[in-house]
Every structure is written in C-alpha cells, then in structure tokens.
C-alpha cells in the first residue's frame, strides 16, 4: 500500500513524540506560517549566536506530516549556520520534487518524507516548518548575501 510509504513508522514516531517542540523565551526573529487550506500553523523562533549558528524553537498544530517534519527539521538544522540549514531546505524541496535522490547525511530521518512526493497536496505540509525556519533566519539577518531566491507563498503579505 502506497500510503505506508508516506506514513512510515519513523514519521509516525516523530508525530507522536516530536523533538524540540516548545518556544524559547529569547529570540531574534519570530515567524508565523500557516497552510491556509488546512489550517496547519507553526510559530517559529530563531536566535543567532556569535558563531553564526542559528538556534531554533517552535510550536505548531497540524497533521502528522507537518508535525513530524517540524520535529525532523529541529533534529537536522537546529544549531547550524545559515548556509548549511538552507542547503538542507533546498535538498528537502528537491527530494519532494523528485529531482534528487535523498541524502541521509543531509536530511536524517527526513529521507522518510520522500513518500510525500506522491501526494502533491501534502508537500506543503512537509515544507511548512522548513520554510518557516528559512524565513525566520532571513528576518534575523542570517543571510549575509540577502538571498533573492526565497519567495514563500504562504508568507504574510499585508
């Protein structure tokens, strides 16, 4: 059954016991991203260390995919510098668009999200936390070169 490709054990584990959930008191930037069709939400905070490392915390509501993905995001990119974190986000996007083979070194348990690619309507769920991280990191001034690549369709505009 294809469904089990998406809902792998490891995903359901992250969903039921998410890592790093809970907001830090101190932060340099906070973002709130939503998926307007289904109502999934994440509030995400980052603070930048002197060493350029970005510490992330978050709180969220949503489906198993969006929550598991946030938990995996925390495992993979908390305390990384912007470039490494961004590379992970790009790799996740590419995996979900099926343009690369998933690299476990970069995505960790995130490789288990590969099954989501079969369900285009769920890709947004898998990306929600990661895009929020990128937005927050940029808002915190972490991208020295002011990356122009970034345009997040769910970002608040008004």
């Amino acid at each position: 059954m294809k469904l089990e490709n998406m809902y792998q054990e490891i995903i359901l584990d992250h969903y039921k016991r998410p890592h790093g959930k809970g907001l830090a008191e101190q932060f340099d930037a906070e973002v709130h991203h939503v998926n307007p069709t289904c109502g999934d939400e994440i509030t995400l905070r980052v603070s930048r260390g002197a060493d350029g490392k970005i510490v992330v915390s978050y709180d969220n509501m949503g489906c198993s995919i969006s929550q598991a993905s946030a938990s995996i995001m925390f495992d993979q990119i908390n305390n990384l510098d912007f470039e490494s974190g961004e590379a992970a986000v790009e790799h996740l996007i590419a995996m979900l668009q099926r343009t690369v083979e998933a690299d476990e070194d970069i995505l960790g348990d995130g490789i288990a999200l590969a099954g989501v690619a079969q369900y285009p309507a769920r890709v947004k769920c898998a990306l929600l936390a990661w895009m929020a991280w990128k937005d927050a990191a940029i808002q915190a001034g972490a991208d020295n070169n002011e990356s122009k690549i970034f345009t997040e369709s769910n970002k608040e505009q008004n």
């Binding site: 294809k2 999934d40 198993s64």
Partner: protein, 426 residues
Amino acid sequence: MSKLDVAAIKADFPIFKRTVRNDHRLVYLDSGATSQKPFQVLDAERNFYETHNAAVHRGAHLLAEEATDAFEHARANIASFIGAQADDLVFTKNATEAINLVSYSFLNATLKSQRGAPLPKGAERFVLAEGDEILVSEMEHHANLVPWQELCEKTGATLRWIGLTEDGRLDLSDTSLFNNRTKIVAVTHQSNLLGTVNDVPAIVKLAETVGALVFLDACQSVPHMPVDVVALGVDFIAWSGHKMLGPLGIGCLWGKSEVLSAMPPFISGGSMIESVSMERTTFAAPPKRFEAGVPMAAQAVGMSAAADYLRALGMDNVAEHEHMLTEAALAGLADIPGLRVIGPENSVDRGSAVSFVLEGLHPHDVGQVMDESGIAVRVGQHCAKPACIRYGVQATTRATFYIYNDLEDVDALVAGIYSAKKFFGV
C-alpha cells in the same frame, strides 16, 4: 425513501467511469466544494461552441444572433429555476464575484455620493456613513465575510456578526444586532461547514423592522433544495454554477429589480454602457450594467442545462434524497468512538454537509486514508475559519452528498473512518 434512481443518474456522469487510487471506484463526497457534471451539461456547452459561437450582444450576423439568443434563453431559464425574472439575474464568474458586486456597490455609491458624482435613483440605500453597520454571521464562508470586512476597512463602517449556539445554529437572541445603523444583513442560507439551514424568514423579519437589505448566500441551497426568491423575501441571492452540476466559471447574482437598478456599476468596460465619450459615460440598465466584457455565454448555456437536469429530477426529490443520506450518515457517525460532529447532530433544518473531528487524528490524515480507498472527502477549514475557531477545532473532515450518492457511499464513509482510526492506532 428516495425517489431518485442513483444508478441511472450515475450513468449520466462520465467521471464515474474512471477509477481512482488503487483502482477503487470513486466515492465522491466533495460536492460541497464542486459537483460533478452530467454529459447533458457538457454537451450543451460544447454544442454552443461547435455551432453558435460568437460574442453575444455585439454583432448582427447570424452567429451573433444565435449566440445572444442562447445566452438570454439561458438567463431566463436559470432565473425561472429560482422563481425570478430574467432581467433581475446577473451572470458573474462565481458566487464570490456576485458577493463582491454587492459589497462594491456600497463602496462605489458611498464614494460617488461623497464627490457628488451621478448615481442611479435609489442609490442612497448603498451610501454608507461612518459607524453604519454591516451584519454577517460567524458561520459565513470567507466569500461572505472578507468582502464585508474589506468594505468596512475602506469606509469606516462597522462589521458586526451573529454568533453561533453550541449546536451549530445562529444565535438570534441579541436582536440589538439589528438596529437602525444596519445597512445590510449578509448571511448564508446553508452553512458549507456545519450543514445548518438558517431561518431566513426570521432574519428577513428582523431586517425589515430596521430597513436593512438582506443578502443570502445561496451557494449551498440552490443546488440542494427548492429555492423561490419571492417566497424567501430577501433582496439578493448569489450562487455558483459549478456546485449545481454546471460548468466552472459562472455564478449568479439575483436581486430585486428596484434594488439592482439603484446600484452603480462594479466592473466597467464594454457592453455595460449606454454612451461613452472621453469625458463621460452613462450606463445600461441591469443586468447588463453589471456584465462588462464578453460574457461566459457557453457556461450560461451549460448552467441552464444543469437547471433543466435538476428540474427534471425535482428539487423536492433532491432534497429528500440528501436528507435520507444525511440521516444515515449522522447515525453511522454517532457510533464511532472519539468522533465529534461539528454542526447540528440531528437532521432537522440541516443540509447534507457533515463535518466531524476525530480525537487524536488530524483531518488531513483521515482524508488521506480515505482517499487511498477512493473516498473523496474534503479536509481543512472549508473557507470557514471563524466557525472552526468558534468550535475549537483547527480543521475538520467533511462529507457532502448529492444526487449521485447512495447509501453504499455512506457505508463507505463510515468504513473509511474506521480504517483511518485503525491505520493510526487511535
């Protein structure tokens, strides 16, 4: 017992010839979002393009005459479907545009009046002063909420709303919401999230005492029950073709003729004018005043064929059939542990939209498991986020029934929910 022959109906809908995931038959429980289309509708639209296609109201050659005739015949037929006159029916691209047409009438009348620009006779009803009120309800679809918020934000009018009772009904106890500052009451006939059918006569009565206009969002009623605008006594109704077996890309605004005549134009351009010079333009009478540009004539013809299809079934029979399915669904759901229906739990004054949440399971995940066995339900906020918030849920799973659904589909829904619970071990 239902008077509809579902097997015969299904045979008219080409989409049921395909299968979905894992070669399952399609159990389509998402007609509340959009309905499927019978071949009669598709044929009517195609026939227009293949034999009469031309820009309507814009030419004198044979095709232009035939196209105009087909378009205006469609208007008259659709109008008669809701007990109305052709001249009071405006075609829009969807119900959303129809609602905006009305909200922008207020904006435009207000601005033109402030600048002393010419306005149609009777336009004062659409002129807002600071502090005037627009009344909506907490169960509105975003389409019947955001345009009014926008209007208030741009004019200084105040948005007020009718709250909801625990069991998913309008709470009409606070009658001070209807007061002499209330300019229009805009509410839904049937909630697309909760299924509630609202008490229109009560609302009309309250509005009448304060001289407010009444706008009824009929997106979920015209396709599902007999609707007669004269009997309803409202000033406007709006609905979409695509939810009543018709094509995408067409909707309708019906308004009382003296009310429509009092409204300044919304979208302007060709075909809605009377005379144009660089300095000054005068406008045609309704419905043309509100139909700028080349209209969706083929879609009007298709929507008219949809009205014919439903009329042949009998709207009473349609309503009765859906009622039977709704009762069965509510009964089946009532037995499922951890399931909570969002909206009325009984079938009184209730349409066939059935929303629910399951403890420990997100709607997205429920929907996904169902989809895997061919059951198409909608998950999310259903463009009714305020009502979701009101009932403390982030999202729901929603099944909606129509003429091509039967008790087997209800059984599939119930079985699907059990599978989802099993899959996720809750």
